[in-house]
Structure formats: C-alpha cells, structure tokens
Assembly symmetry: C2
C-alpha cells in the first residue's frame, strides 16, 4: 500500500524524462501523493526535476514543493519567475507559504509578495514572516474559524461555509470575546450534534490550552504531545487569537529534535543527511574529530610522562584500550539516561545530588562486576599480581568517575541551557579517555611500588 | 502556562498526604490535567499514590491511570479489586482498555473482562486483546462512526448523535459498502457544510489511506507522519473497516522509537529510565560493557604480540588512545548518517555501493586533514620521522576503515532486518578500536623497519 522508491523505478522515470514520454510520466504521477512525488524529485538532478515538475497536476504542485528537501526546493524555485512563485504561494497554507518565502533570496521576497493575487493571503504571509524562527509564531497558520460567544450554531456553520475556501482542514472552531480574546473552543462534533439555534456560549468548552506567539517550538511540541492535541491555538501578548498550529507540523518538529539529538550524540555539528555534498558532510564532522584528536594528544602526553615505566613494564600498555573504551562506554550510558529523562520530563531536574548518588551506585555495581571479571582473566592468563591489580583497581575507579561525569555534565549543561545531548557524544568520551589513562598509570605507579 | 513538577511542590503534596489534608489535595488536583496528575503519581511511593488517587475526580481517574508509567500503574492496579479495575476500563477508549488489561496478571484478566458493565465495550476489548503487540490491530480503537454510501447527510448526523457517548473525539466519518468494506471517508467539515439531504455517495472522498490490522506500528507511524494524517482507518484481511488509529497514539510510538534508537546507540539493552531500580539500571548496561571489555581484551592481546617493539620504542604506546578514539568517532559519525537516512527514507537502501563510495570520499577528506595535522604536531615536538609517519599513516587508514565499517555495518543490518541503530553504539566503537590498534602496530612495524 505504501509507496517505496527503488532505483529501478527511478531509472524508469529518468528514461521517460530523457525520452520526453509525457504520457507515461503523467500516468505515473497521477497515481502518487504529493509527498511521494517529492521523494522522487529529491533524487533527480535539477534539469530532470524541472521537466518532471511541469508534468505534475496543478492542484498538487504546491504540495509537492512543500514536501521537497529544502535545498532541492530552493534550487527548483530559483528557476521560477517571481510571478510563478507567487502563484504557488497562493495555493499554500499561510504558514507554509511564509516558510518558503523566507528561504528565498531577500531581494526578491518583496516582489514575490506583491505578486500574490489574494491580498489577504499576502498580508497573512507578511505577518508570519516577522516571527523569529523556532517560535510558535513562525509555526502557526492564520487560517482558522473563530466565532463570538453570543452567536448561534447555525451562524457558526454559515461562517465555516464562508471560510471553506481558505481553511483546508478544520478540527475545531475557536470562541473569542468582543476584543478577539480567546475564551474557548468548540469541537466540530459538538457543533454537529447541537441544535442549530443553540447559542455558542451555552455549548462551548472554556478550558482551552493555548500558547503565546513567543513560545519556543519545543514548548509547542511538548504541549501537543503531552495533552494529545490535534490543533493548538496561538495568542498574542494581549490574549487575542492570532493563529493555530496543527499536530502534523509538530510531528515534523519532533522528528527534527530527535535527529538533532542523535547528531549531537554522534559528534556531527551540522544538520546534514547522506544526500548532502561531500564538502558539507566532511565539514560537519571535522570539529568533533579535532576535539577527539586533541584529547588523544593530551592522552599521549600523559602516557609520555610514564615512558620509563612502560620501558620496564611494557605490559602496562596492553590495557590502555580497555580502560579507555570502558570509561567511554560507561559515560555514554550514564549521560544517555539523563538526557532521555530530561527530554521526557520523567526526571525532576532541580535536585542533582540524588541522581548523582544513584548513578554512582549503578557505577559501583557495574564496576565491581567488570573489575572482578578482568581480575579473574588476568590471573588466569598468569599476568603478575601488580598488573592484574592495577588494571582492576583502575577500571573500577574509571567506571565510578565516568558514571559521575556522565551524570553531572548533562545536568549542568541543562542548567546552563545547553542541549545536554551534546554531552552524550564525543565530549564525554574524550574527557573519560583522558581521565581513564591518568588514573590507570597513576594506579600502576602506586601498585607496582607496593606489590 | 505549562505545569512543571518541582521538588518543592512535590514535598507540599507529600506533607498534605501524611496530614490527610484532603481539602488542599482536592483543590490542587482540580487545577491539573490528567497527565500532570500522573507525573506526580509517578514520583510517589505506592502508599502515597493510593491515597492521592482516591482524591482524584472520578471523571479524570481513568485518564490519570492511562498516563502513568507502566510499572507504577501496574503496582497501583494490583491494590484494586477486579470490580474497581473493570469500572476504570469501562471509561477508557477500547484500545487503551485493552492495553491496560493486557498488563494485568493473566489469571484475573477474564474476571475483570466479565465485570465490565457495558457489554459492547467488553467485547471490543476482548477483540483487541487478540492482536499481537506492535501491530496496527493492537494500536487501533474500535470507537468510530461509519455510514453507508446511500445514506443522507442528516442520517449521518443522527448516527453521530447516537454514538456520541462512546466516541470521545471525532475527526472523520468513514463510508462503507454493504459488506462493511471501507470505500471512503468524509471530513466533519464537509459534513457540516453539505446540505442535510445530500447523499453521502455524492460528497464523500473515495481516496482514503488505510492499513491492515497486521501492519507494524512503524508502518503506521510512517504513514501518519508522511501523509500528515490525524486519524488512520484500519481494515481486516477482507477490507472491512474494523478500527481507527489516532495521531496521538502514534506520537507516542514515534517517541518510543526515537528513545529505543538512542538507547541502542548508547549501549543500553533495556527500556529503562532514571526512576528505575538500581538493579534494572545496572543490568541494562552490563551486556555492552562486557562486549566493550572483550574488545579491550582482544586489543590487549594484539598489543601484547608487539611487546618487544614497545620495549624498544615505548613512544609507540603514546598514541594508542588517539588512534582508538578517532576510529571510534569516525565510525559513529558515519553510521549515524546512515541510520538517520534509513529512518527518514531520504536514502534509497537498495544500492549500497554509491553510499560506500561517498562515505569513503568523506573519510578521505577528513583523513587527509587529520593525519596532516597530527604529522605537523609530531614533527613540531621533535618526534622521530618513524613515529610521526606511523601515527599519520595509521590514522589515515583507520579513518578510511572506520568510514567503511560505519556505513557498511548499518546497511547490512538493515538488510537483515536488524535495527541499524545498534551499529551506531558500542558495537562499531569496539570493532573500530580493535581494527585501529591492529593497523597502528602493523604500520609501526613496517615503517620502523624502513625509516
């Protein structure tokens, strides 16, 4: 049932484009949804895209544009006249149109705006363009149906009929007072089952969750997710209803948030995907590789200061990777638990001490297990007591340290409003690597002195 | 506007529970939504939960139950009689009720089911319990409004009125043929603006996306996300309409999926959060720590086989951490890009070679940058040409290898239907650690022989 793009099908389409086989292309496109056509366009080069885009049914073309990857869409739009862009924007919801126009080069934005035929749509778009990215204002659409509390159900239905052109999908009607302040909502179901002459004020629900235009998109996503909303009204500083955000926009925000976290955890600094250019992909990775390398250099200086010891006891070098890797793994595990708890609100962030204590206890348990096992292994293969002891004591200490840092660093980052997912990545690994090596050689010097 | 739980407020509530200050508790609870009350209950111990739960308004109590963490809910329900559980289930949507009853001990499930007063609800729940977890059937609810194509708008509205009790939230009406097969849908907006005597068959939308009961929850989430749906009808093998899945359920599925990926990436084997018991938290982490330790032991054997070389040239040991860490970082970065592309469908998975080539090119660029920098550093601090050359050549090779493995492993895992996020975790780090060390010492033996 669900469309899946494979390279065979893609090649068929490419051939049809080269052969200008419009009949085939049109018949294929008519079977597909906008989002599927966009998937195809994302995989084509610009020339092919332009050709295929021309074959798309006019009704779908603006939707296809919206579903394309940003860079591909920008490239395609750059081949359009301002008039053509304006026509596409006219068919979009105001929020989507504002997003698209914000991506255009600044010098043509005004010209495009002036060429939009529907004056109300143009003014809505201009309003929305002024909101800062990442706020509720930038996410909302202006298309909504609002009624006054003193009106009747049948007047409300007439209003819906009047607005049916501009409001594509409708889930609820908002109720406002004489100053346009939001005072409640009315579900379509309630509207349908109520008597036509019933007054809105008698049937509406005064308990409505809303956000201010200045709220962050994370806040919006949290509200929608937490309260299982389908649509969320947006109000200005005076409490007046100015727009609405639908759940599908927030699903995208949620996905982007999750992706950003995974990228931070993986040491990727920029929002890239595998279709991006070689240069962008390389550049997004270099910063954390360099941080990791600096950590490696610090590590080399630390080990270097124990050069004489290694010369006498080269076996000390054998377990450097084990100490480093275990420290890194423990740190990542601890910080992942904290980051997840913060994201879910299952963790009350204002008390740090109990969390540290708990993570340290987990570290204690796992530290005892791991260091006993490695002690057993080392004695089994007849390593000296000095080495076996060093490795086990160091491993235990490293696991405790890494548990502490893995918990403490993300909690502190969160307190200073830095995304704590950053701590689950190369940062904590590098830190633990350095600390692990220091502990290992220090313990080695002490124990080899005693045993 | 949004409720946030802090420890001060929690302590106030706990004190009120001890003092049995019901007036205060009830006044606080009346201000809160079900999900917020659940957040509080999650933080209380069982005794406190039982007391607070009794103070909750009856209308909200089943919703609160649903929003609680699974373990906390199970513990609370264990203190209920089967009759009390049945009453709560009667107030839930059929899908939620089925989830809750599935969590109960098997020996009381039947008894609870038989005590549900609403026979239709009991039969719906029994139907839903038979679907396997993780399928569309297990996600769907039976509450929906369906009409036949030959009926009129006003008959349809009467039907909605009749079903208004059982169907809490309504977004669309489904249209079925005489065999109950799904043939289309009708938005509430369309219903509102259409003439009461219009026939459904004249106004309904025949282009409706649906899933079979056997579809996986990932498939359901993909469809809802991709096609921006609010509700998705579910059909049986014969195409008959049997239920519907709403976007809020899928938002939860999406969050769980993202969490699962992050846990896999972080080397945590079980679905845990920071409120879980020490033992569960420790057990969830031990497996990958042990894998990492085995990797470390393999590493120690490899280094051990170069013992004589280290004794002569202890400086070889200095850069073991740098090589290991960089290999790990590159591997994680590469696999994160692939995992993300697979999750987003921005990547066509059926052709592996071009992706490998691209990742190798990125590796080439970053490898040249990193190994040049480390060469410069080593010559600057007057290390020998042999060591400087060894580190740079090994680093370059390791970066290429890690890019290859980081791309290849998740793609292969995906092909064999293993969650590729597993590859972005300790697995790929451990593998790259071992390979990195082998390359480093091998290159060292060769270059020290030549230079």
């Amino acid at each position: 049932m669900q469309f899946e793009l494979n390279s065979e099908y893609l090649n068929q389409l490419k051939t049809a484009i080269v052969e200008q086989n419009d009949v085939f292309l049109k018949s294929q496109l008519s079977e597909l949804y906008a989002v599927d056509i966009a998937l195809i366009l994302n995989q084509l080069d610009l020339e092919e895209s332009i050709y295929l885009y021309d074959q798309i049914d006019e009704e779908l073309s603006s939707d296809v544009l919206l579903e394309m990857e940003d860079e591909k869409r920008e490239a395609l739009l750059a081949t359009f006249s301002t008039k053509e862009i304006a026509e596409q924007l006219d068919n979009m919801d105001s929020d989507d149109a504002a997003d698209v126009i914000n991506e255009l080069p600044e010098e043509i934005q005004e010209e495009v705006l002036s060429q939009i035929e529907d004056i109300e749509q143009a003014s809505d778009i201009a309003d929305l363009m002024s909101f800062e990215e990442g706020t509720a204002g930038s996410l909302m659409a202006k298309e909504l149906v609002s009624v006054h509390a003193h009106e009747t159900v049948s007047a409300c239905i007439d209003e819906i009929r009047r607005q049916t052109e501009s409001v594509d999908v409708l889930y609820a009607v908002y109720v406002v007072d004489e100053h346009e302040k939001l005072i409640g909502m009315l579900s379509l179901k309630k509207l349908i089952i109520s008597h036509p002459l019933a007054k809105i004020e008698e049937i509406f629900d005064g308990d409505v969750i809303s956000v201010k235009t200045s709220a962050s998109s994370e806040e919006v996503a949290d509200l929608i997710r937490k309260y299982d909303l389908v649509v969320l009204p947006v109000i200005d500083q005076l409490g007046r209803l100015v727009g609405r955000i639908t759940v599908d926009d927030v699903v995208d925000v949620m996905r982007e948030e999750a992706e950003k976290d995974i990228q931070l955890m993986s040491g990727i600094t920029d929002d890239v995907d595998s279709n991006d250019s070689l240069w962008r992909l390389s550049r997004a990775r270099i910063p954390w590789l360099l941080v990791g390398m600096c950590g490696g250099i610090v590590g080399s200086r630390i080990i270097g200061s124990y050069e004489d010891q290694i010369q006498i006891r080269p076996e000390m070098a054998f377990f450097i990777p084990l100490i480093g890797a275990t420290g890194g793994n423990v740190g990542v595990q601890s910080s992942a638990i904290i980051v997840q708890g913060l994201a879910n609100n299952t963790l009350i962030a204002d008390k740090i001490a109990p969390k540290l204590l708990k993570e340290l206890s987990v570290g204690l348990i796992n530290g005892v297990i791991c260091s006993s096992l490695i002690l057993g292994y080392n004695l089994l293969i007849n390593e000296s007591w000095a080495l076996a002891g060093t490795v086990s004591v160091a491993l235990f200490t490293v696991i405790l340290c890494a548990s502490f840092l893995g918990t403490f660093v993300p909690l502190m980052m969160n307190r200073f409003k830095i995304n704590p997912a950053l701590a689950t990545g190369p940062f904590v690994t590098t830190l633990n690597d350095i600390i692990g090596i220091s502990i290992y050689f220090l313990v080695g010097r002490i124990l080899y002195g005693i045993l």
